[in-house]
């Protein structure tokens, strides 16, 4: 079975095990090996990878900013490709996105702003 990485993986929608949106595939990491075909190891998700695509310096700056928000932050979020199932119209990962740093900004906004507005 063949996979076209640009058409079928990169920039495609990810959903988590519960069907919630988990972002877009912002990057794909290849592992280069001597004398062997490159291995497609991970997909990357998140604004660090996204900003890096627009401009490498911008990506580094964003990573430094993100690192201020706690330990384990400031680096891109990776999922092994082997944990992804390919089902139209999205790609499904076998985790719940609420437990990953993908939702960090969403959760922070929810806590600090949205929940303070009456009737939310």
């Amino acid at each position: 079975m063949q996979l076209l990485l640009v058409r079928d993986v990169l920039d495609n929608q990810l959903v988590d095990a519960s069907g919630k949106n988990a972002g877009k595939v912002d990057g794909i990491i290849l592992e280069l090996r001597e004398g062997q075909p490159p291995c497609v190891r991970y997909v990357e998700v998140g604004p660090i990878t996204l900003t890096r695509r627009l401009n490498r310096r911008l990506g580094r700056w964003f990573a430094r900013l993100d690192a201020r928000f706690g330990s384990g932050r400031g680096v891109p979020i990776r999922f092994p490709l082997t944990r992804i199932t390919f089902e139209e119209p999205s790609l499904r990962i076998d985790v719940l996105v609420e437990h990953t740093p993908i939702m960090a900004l969403e959760q922070w906004l929810r806590r600090t702003i949205v929940r303070r507005i009456p009737g939310s």
Binding site: D11, K24, R53, L54, L105, E106, I113, V114, S120
Partner: protein, 405 residues
Amino acid sequence: MKRWFGVALGIVTSIGGFLEIGSITTAAQAGADYRYQLAWSIVLGTICIALLIEMSGRFAAVSKHTIADAMRERFGLHFFMVPLVLVFFVSLLVLAAEIGGVAVSIELVTGIHYPLWALPAALLAWALLWYGTFSIIENGISLLGLVTVSFAVAAVHLGPDWHALASGLAPSLPSKEPAHYWFIAVSVLGASVSPYLFYFYSSGAIEEKWDVTHLGPNRVIAAIGMGFGGFLSVAVLVVAALVFAPRGIKVEEYTQLPLLLSAPWGRVGFGLFAGSLFITCLGATAEIALALAYKIAQGFGWNWGEDLGPSDDARFSLTYTLILLVSMLLVLVGIDPLKLTTLSMALTAASLPVAILPFLILMNDSKYLGEHTNGWLGNLAILVISVLSGIVAVVSIPLEIIGGS
């Protein structure tokens, strides 16, 4: 039975939701300056948006993607960002014009100057989005928007020259001031063919879980709903031709607009105009803010949905909040709503090729649409209209500014 009720509702909401400050202003200017001669531009714009809306609904129903989501997926991040940024900035200006429209409608009734109403207007639209659902916004506001049928009644009541109107439905060369003529023509097109509409429509189709069984109703809604909406725009043009043109009035101040309905009907007409402006601009404000937030959320893969509560899609909800805030500031500082409207409509027309052509490629991709891709006629119509309007707009906008209109 339920399906046909949905179709009827869809048609009615399309009619009620068609007019807003852009289409009212540009149709009024066209009627005031050229009587019936520019009626063809409304017809052309209506045909174009009807085709695009049908495509938008078809795309969502078959592919189960929204347009923004598919654009990022198909074209990649960099090619997605170009139409995103362009449509975003132009739509922000249109949004400011709509908030201005709401504020002006309140000024007409209260006499208090419009910038003071910018914040309440934006807040009202925000509350609709924050606390409402997709159905309430789509159906509720658009049903109230049926008050705009009063323009059609006024047009018939004033007794137009039907023969001249019929001639105006066919394209013609300008009788005077060609640069201004073409500028008004593209502004009318920009008012009818707003890119935010098809982002909004495809998102709505996904929110309402459309599938291939909705294709027939989708076609009917697009054709009849948009068709009748365009008919209302022509009605505004006719009323302007009968109210402004004979008096030699050029529409340059927003305070002149109520004359459209107050001339035939006095105070009742004035009230109807203020009510029409309020409802239609409020609806458009909510739609544009939602459409832009949809585009960003879908392009970046966030959770989104008007039917979700803000706690479930904080980024999406705060995006439309910020968008409303920024647009509101343009009105708050006192930028003239009429000038803002005319400019944003022309800029919309200028941006059409960049906004529409990627969508057209998607509509011909069988990976998304299977056997439901576009026919060559639909492709040709959209290609010609969008490219021509882009060229004409790019030429006529500077001429209009230089001409000092």
